[in-house]
Symmetry: C2
Subunit: 349 residues, 2 copies
């Protein structure tokens, strides 16, 4: 099949492009690679691009890989492609990596977190130049696995405890501060936290951020009601919300660790005939697509997951080019988006 295909192709070489543009083949190579293009004068780049286009030149990444020892392939591990948090991360990262001349192999870890190392081993066998990991837990053996093998890797959305790899994350503490400040300004005194799984940095840091923000608002943080959901899903959010309402009295507001948990809380209020925001105010986290359309429209903390993906791509590119540079974290500021699910508590109306 491949042979048949190759037989039909008339392959234009780098050398032919070099001849037509009157420069050395190595200059053509530099000009055609987005990562090294700036090393060639703009006028020459333009001449080379014109010649390449005229001849219908298509770079051969497999041949280039043999020359350079690099594949220009990058792997991305996501917990679930169809999740509306991870899809835009993947989209932003892919867009930026494409501009930088990489192709992206995507691996959906799904429910089998245990398969992560297997999947990475497979990607290494593909000779990927680096990895973007959206999957890691706070203490993930995968991080050491990549470091031991000198495989450039960066984390996105979720970070690990030791910060051994560069990461792009949202400022989870700031996000929870914005949420609690908003509820406190509305007059709420009995504010509960619907927490996410603490094995992930997002669940852990948002929970800690909630406690800090409660203390900063003059509340007894240790006494604030809190239930931890098993997963960042609507179903797990509903289960934790039932526990929250069954074991604590007088809650007038819920700060949820993400939007899906908040929607699970909506389901429970509906079940029990409680109104939102009449009886209980709810604020989410993420501002995922369509939460402006649910009833009531969800007040939430907006994170640009697409931008996180783009920045992760940039960090990975740097990690590949400068493998000895120290790890660094890019922390993006989230934003409060007020909609209809938060209002003053019932007693003050």
């Amino acid at each position: 099949m491949a042979g048949k295909r190759n037989g039909k192709r008339t392959t234009i070489t780098l050398k032919e492009v070099a001849e037509l543009s009157g420069v050395h083949a190595s200059t053509v190579s530099r000009a055609l690679n987005p990562a090294t293009r700036s090393m060639v004068m703009p006028a020459v780049v333009e001449r080379i691009l014109k010649a390449a286009k005229k001849l219908g030149y298509q770079p051969d990444p497999v041949a280039a890989s043999l020359r350079t020892g690099r594949s220009s392939l990058v792997g991305i591990l996501v917990p679930d492609i169809a999740n509306t948090v991870f899809a835009p991360i993947l989209s932003g990262a892919t867009e930026r990596l494409d501009e930088q001349g990489y192709s992206v192999i995507v691996s959906d870890v799904g429910n089998e977190q245990g398969r992560q190392i297997d999947l990475v081993a497979k990607l290494m066998a593909r000779r990927v130049d680096g990895l973007i990991l959206a999957t890691v837990s706070r203490d993930d053996p995968l991080v050491a696995y990549c470091i031991e093998r000198n495989l450039p890797a960066v984390l996105v959305n979720r970070a690990e405890t030791q910060s051994r790899l560069s990461a792009v994350v949202s400022d989870d503490a700031l996000g929870m501060q914005l949420a609690v400040d908003h509820l406190s300004e509305l007059g709420h005194k009995r504010i509960a936290h619907l927490a996410g799984p603490t094995r992930h940095s997002t669940g852990f840091l948002r929970r800690r951020g909630f406690a800090q923000a409660m203390a900063a608002n003059g509340f007894d943080a240790a006494a604030a009601p809190c239930e931890v959901a098993d997963a960042f899903t609507r179903e797990a959010g509903a289960v934790a919300m039932r526990r929250l309402l069954d074991t604590h009295r007088g809650i007038t507001a819920i700060a949820a660790a993400n939007d899906l948990l908040a929607l699970g809380a909506y389901d429970v209020l509906h079940e029990r005939g409680l109104s939102c925001p009449g009886a209980i105010s709810i604020i989410g986290h993420n501002d995922m697509p369509l939460v402006d359309m649910v009833a009531p429209a969800l007040t939430t903390i907006r994170i640009s997951h697409r931008e996180m993906g783009r920045q992760a791509a940039d960090l990975l590119h740097q990690a590949i080019e400068q493998p000895d540079a120290p790890a660094r974290n890019v922390v993006l500021p989230p934003k409060l988006i007020v909609r209809k699910s938060t209002a003053a508590p019932p007693s003050t109306k």
Copy 2:
């Protein structure tokens, strides 16, 4: 970087696995490849897998590619990864292709449909064994491009007019029949169609399906109000919905060509102070995530996009293994999901 990495790796060869399990290396090769595993006796497969695991053997797809002329790489082109229709297609396809031993390179075409052929040329330069295309228009030069180059390719969600490549699609005519029958049974007589772009098979076939279903219900299909949205987006849906209400009188129900268009119609009803389903009933198409949570919960036609992705993966695997087999279409039946956005028309209440 790559050299440094390789230097640290102790590579286990196929031959060592063969020695430990007492079989020929070619048997090991067949047993380890999911696509050829059935050629080896189960007991032998088990022995080989145990030996491979014990030695920490990792297949080398790059070396295998040189031997077999195949890369075990597959490309998937999607119009927008972050779109909740295409993310589950990608997820289902990736899951199944992973089981079959392929790795998936994902290409997000984004808004630049014109880049499609460039992206495919890049994927071919990566020596992909085949392509899954979720992007094609009804008359897409990309299809001829793949056929001329003998590149195995299948279509998913959107088909092309000539059916030259295998495709997995939803039964769009049946979907519109379910929608129109439901509205007609509720007593609606003035039913309009909020159509999708007819350059895509989904927009075209759902529009034709709407007309057929109207005729089957005894209505004058040619006289039924219809406006075509420029894109399958909420914004384009709102624009077309305004035109629909401005130029036609007495509409009591809308059959939208997808859920995003239906949500755009919600926005316009809200704008104009019209209630749904009190004044106008609305039915969507796709049953994308969260449309059960919007107000009112959207009645729609459910398509399993994840299953479409899985079936596309199977079709592609077959197209790669049997390049001369004729193209075939897999048509999946959609399902009516009744929620709160449809009710009897106002006059009959």
